[in-house]
Structures are given as C-alpha cells and as structure tokens.
Symmetry: C2
Subunit: 201 residues, 2 copies
Amino acid sequence: MVYSQVVETTRIAKATRAGGPRDRLMCAAKELTYRDGMQVGVDAILTAADVARRSLYQHFGGKDGLVAEMLKEEGERMEQIYADALAAGGDDPRERLRALFAFLEKLPDAPGYRGCRFVNADLTLADPGHPAHDVVRAHKQRRREMLEAELRAAGHPDPVTAGIQLELLIDGAAVNAALRPEERHTVAAGLLAQIVIDQGS
Amino acid sequence: MVYSQVVETTRIAKATRAGGPRDRLMCAAKELTYRDGMQVGVDAILTAADVARRSLYQHFGGKDGLVAEMLKEEGERMEQIYADALAAGGDDPRERLRALFAFLEKLPDAPGYRGCRFVNADLTLADPGHPAHDVVRAHKQRRREMLEAELRAAGHPDPVTAGIQLELLIDGAAVNAALRPEERHTVAAGLLAQIVIDQGS
DNA sequence: TAGTGAATCGACCGATCGGTCTACTCTCGT
DNA sequence: ACGAGAGTAGACCGATCGGTCGATTCACTA
C-alpha cells in the first residue's frame, strides 16, 4: 500500500538534460534514491533520466552497480564539501572544526532534506553482501580520519575517542533531523561538539 | 541481485510455536523485519510464523498493519527495558542515567545486532504516509521525555538541550554500531554522555 | 561514403510483490 | 448433535520487480 500521492518523476529529466546518458543516470539516481529511498524502481530512474533501459545495463551492469557508483561519486563530493567547510575556519584546527559544525548546523534546512544519504542507504540495504556497504564504510572511514587529523593537529588529548564522538554527533543529528525535522538537533549537536573539541585546551 | 545466501526462515517457526497465530505473526515479524529489513516479504513472514495467509489479513488488515502493531509492541517493551535500566541506578537521577548508558553500552554485543529497530524502520520506509512513522515518532518522543525528566530531576541547567544531546548519542551510537561493528562507538558515547549529565553539577 | 559504436525504443522474461478468495478442517459452546 | 468462528491450505489476481534482447536511429570517423 502506498499512502502518498506519486511525485512526478519526469520533472527531473528537464533539469538533467545536460551531459550524456551516463551523467543523466547518475543524476537521476542521486535524486530518486535520496527522495524515495533505495527501493526506487529501475523504471522510475530510467524515466527520470530520460535514458534507454539498455544504457543503464551497459554503463553500470545493473541497478546495484549504478547505486554503488553513485554513492562513490557522492562520497567524493561530500568529502570535498567537508574540506571546504573546514577551510572556511582558517588555519587553527579548533576553529576549523567549529566552522565545520557551523556548516553542518544549516544542512537540514535544505528543502527535501532526508538525513545522511550514506546512513540511509546502508540501513536500507539489508543484504550484507550489497556492494554499496563497502562504499559507505570507506566513506565514513575517511570522514573519521579527517576529523581525527584535525583533533590531532589541535593537540587534543584523545583524538581517537573524540573523533568517534564527533562522528556520533554528526550521524545522530542527521538521523534525528530526518526523523523529526521540527526540532533543532543540529544546534544541540554543535554545542556538544564544541565541548568535545575544547577538551584539554 | 541477492549477494548473501538465503538464511533459513523456517527455523523461526520452531522457536515461535507458543501462542496463537497472532502471537506467532508478531514474533516472526519482529525477527524478520529486524534481520532482513522492512522489505521482507509477506510470504517469508507467513512461513516463519507457520500461519495461514488469511490469518494475517484478518488480524492486522495487511502487512502495514502488522508492521505498525509490531513496532508499537516493541516500543512498549523497549520503554520498559529503559525504565528497568534506569531503576538499576537507584534513586539519584545522575546515577540512574549513568546506569542507563552502562546498559546501552552492552547492547551491540548481542548476536545479530543491527542497530535501533525504530531508526532503521523509519529510514527504510521512504513513504512518508506509512503508519509506522507515527509509531516511531511517538516512541522517540516518549524516550526523550524520559531522558529530560531525569535531567530535570538532577537539576540540570538545560535539560531540554541535554535531552536532545543524549538522544543524539544513543541514536548515533546505534547507527554506527550497526554500520561498523568493529569499533566501540557505545563506549565513546557513554563517556560523552557522562559529560552531558554532569554539566552544572 | 561506408562503416562502426553508442544510444534509443519497447517487447518480453521469470520472479516476486501484497492482497483476495474459495474450500476445507478443527474446536468449542449450546 | 450441530452450527459458528477461527484457522489452514493454496490457487489466483494484477502490478511491479530487475534484467535481457532484437531492431532501429544517429553521429562520428576512417
């Protein structure tokens, strides 16, 4: 049973006219899997991308391949965004982390925000053998190392534990912001992150 | 494409022989939706519960009804478990919260742990109109009020923000423990929770 | 200009989805 | 002894799933 009215899928095709079939497929997959979940059908993606069925299987081998590749690209994009947010804080590591959490605080305000794409994907794909799991794990691993590096540069007394804690706050806020958007979880996360960052200074 | 070998589903029926068809359906739904995700098929649930197809639709009206009811019961069970964990801490509110996080720390050690059932369900069911969403939101609402009440009793300077922060830590740890089980996220969460709890004391 | 590879359309496949329905069995209260 | 309600077995429904394939069009290049 479906409770919500169907949101038009062809709309996306217009905004995605740029690039070849491969790019259009990636773009459509990004949008639809985020908005409608990973269970979104191949047909919906094809319609949105305005691409022939065969092109999908030639470029990506199948839905799983498309999904995995999409997460990979999105991971790289997100890591760049994180790096930019850190850079906005200047040179001081603590200030850089502060800037990062200030940036994350505003994320849920984006229209259509539905939480962290990677967490959602990993929890949705119950099959432990799905190729997307490795992509997500690798992405989260790199993000944690990024946090740890900043904490280490800041001379934090326990950068490993603190890195995990910052990760918990980021993911916890993303999950809760998606689940109950009316509350300002990211603000509370930012405040607590501040305490973690300032430990031992 | 399915990457993992199929885990036998009939096994569960044996462990669920107790009670009528309704109870067996609930039990099977709890197990299968947690282990295999909410996408698990009706047939798998019926086989595991060793129950006729018709019984499901007579008792619950459909899969969605079964799922919603199951989450409701599980919510009540979890709230009781939380209450017990708090009670283990005695009378002092801070000690009670400490006891709660000590309990939560051990949760991921349970075999087959796959994170928080409610978070997983809510993120998996992309359809915003699915009845399960209300059940999950209500459950999380009550859990937050429970945390807030303890913090208030402890004379915490900002029980609302701290309540949210504890929630972030719990959910963040659950998500990450499911995603990368090899790391001890709950320990880091417990340490940070301690700091939140002790604020202003 | 002829040839080649990419992209398109759309029919088609078997499998599975959630759900409906008929027919039969069992048990229990009257 | 008998009828009612609950449970079971399983065929069946339309829809959709991911995936394959033949036939065609088109752009680019040798």
